[in-house]
Symmetry: C2
Subunit: 321 residues, 2 copies
């Protein structure tokens, strides 16, 4: 797999040439994963983040702080509130990162500051973009230009909780949009049900999951959000393998409507965020399970979680009966 990914080849070549210090710019999913991967290869790693904490767009401040603490505990240096101004290069090789708080030495620099959709070609064809900068489609992934479809990281999704169109370039949604678009382009009729904002990731020994809206996201949308924070154990407390787990659950005051959940713990335990995701979807049929926006990251499941595979298979069996 490595041999087919040019960026991975370049990183590997740089490591082989004796790189000792790495700087990762950006504390999102990709930045966190790369910081950990380089750290595990024995490099001294510094993570630079312009926001006050890493994982800024995924979690509330309370949980962001835990992610930062885990990085520091593991020996990854985190510098937040730092603005990158440029790179120092000597003889064609990077030697450091210039920031508004001084220079950070580096033999290897990773820029992981987010994903922006590539929409130049679409714009030339007259395809309409949404407020997010990604391509707007209907639920069948069709753009405003009848013969043109968009799917994956360049397309918007309907967020079923906020009812807004969002740009969430994650693996499961991209897979699903691609299938829906493909079916429709081939003359079939499929709909993308949208997402509920599920995601899960691991940083060193810490597993973190979220679904729906965070408390901060809810407030930003003008919702009257109220959250409960619970610290407990993932197994019964008297069990030898019980480990701490934290949950923040968010709902709308007045209506009692669930808005989202954030979990923080170790291992598979945080995958129970999917139960909240199921409720956010709010349906009770097989079709709803097949369509569900489950939390995906490689340490926790395949892109198509085994339950989704089962639901898909069963839907087809029923349809073909």
């Amino acid at each position: 797999m490595l041999s087919e990914i040019p960026d991975a080849q370049a990183i590997e070549a740089t490591l082989q040439s004796g790189a000792k210090r790495a700087v990762v710019i950006g504390g999102g999913y990709i930045g966190l994963e790369l910081a950990e991967a380089l750290h595990s290869r024995g490099l001294k790693v510094v993570l630079l983040e312009s926001a006050p904490q890493p994982a800024g767009r995924m979690l509330d401040a309370l949980y962001r702080a835990e992610v930062g603490a885990e990085l520091e505990r593991g020996g990854i240096e985190v510098r937040t509130g730092v603005k990158v101004e440029g790179l120092h290069v000597r003889a064609g090789r990077v030697t450091g990162v210039q920031t508004d708080a001084g220079t950070v030495r580096a033999d290897l620099v990773i820029v992981a500051v987010g994903v922006r959709p590539r929409v130049e070609l679409a714009q030339l064809a007259g395809v309409r973009l949404g407020r997010t900068g990604a391509i707007t489609t209907d639920a069948r992934m069709q753009t405003n230009v009848p013969a043109i479809w968009a799917a994956g990281d360049n397309a918007e999704s309907l967020h079923r909780v906020s009812r807004r169109r969002v740009h969430l370039p994650l693996g499961l949604g991209a897979n699903r949009m691609g299938r829906v678009g493909g079916v429709n382009m081939a003359g079939g009729d499929a709909k993308f049900p949208g997402v509920v904002g599920s995601a899960v990731f691991r940083v060193l020994g810490l597993s973190v999951a979220r679904t729906g809206l965070t408390h901060e996201e809810s407030l930003a949308l003008g919702l009257d959000a109220v959250s409960a924070d619970i610290t407990s154990t993932d197994h019964a407390g008297y069990f030898h393998d019980a480990r701490p787990i934290q949950v923040r659950l968010t709902a709308e005051r007045g209506t009692g409507r669930l808005l989202g959940a954030q979990l923080l713990g170790q291992g598979d335990a945080v995958k129970r965020v999917d139960v909240v995701a199921a409720l956010l979807h709010g349906r009770g049929k097989l079709q709803a399970l097949a369509e569900m926006d489950l939390a995906y990251a490689p340490p926790f499941s395949g892109v198509w979680d085994v339950l989704l595979v089962a639901a898909g298979r069963l839907s087809r069996e029923i349809a073909s009966a």
Copy 2:
């Protein structure tokens, strides 16, 4: 805790006195747990089960076979289709179990053949029993006798999938019924929402979970059930810690209504059965999460799963605001 449970004290005393061979009669939750516990204490353990396989009332045949195979792999002898006829006792101590297939030597015998509600007192008071032999109540846990309430292992529950009244003496339901009954007895107004048949257990290295109805249970209820069996991995297949996981998902042909799921794997991964449980409950509000029949066993969660604790806390916060 041991010191407060007479049966546990008696077992411990028997082990201390040098017991080497144990026979466990019954292959349900309790029998499986005790067989494993005694095996881990170094005893030679034989599990006797009258049905063709252990775990008979919890799982479909396909999964029961896996439970039996795991026991055998772990060194616990399983004898199925065996009828127990009596005990051999010498000088006040058991020496063996008489079965219709011969005698099994034993220094210690555990009888774990199921739970039957203790209803003698209730019957004397004129309390009505259900078809299951347990006490019938309304959703407020009130019996047919106005001043008498019943809750826990002696009371029936409404199964939300089959719409039948069932007797499922499991920890979470008992806890919840007790709270509901207590609230109502004290003049409040609470309702027990019923169960969806969730359960999870571990046998040696195997974790097993179920919710809703099994395929066999569905057929017995006259439902036109159809199931899909999927074998996959709990994490992405290329991950070093990916482990096998199996799912059987069952639905009603024609309507597409979800009926249940069974999962078989290792560790917390099978807890994702709760996602199906969420769908079986079929609601989208905070209250629905608080009321959800999540799979409970000590290796996987507390009686009140951390999500339930969070939902309960949040419900109270909203109610008190």
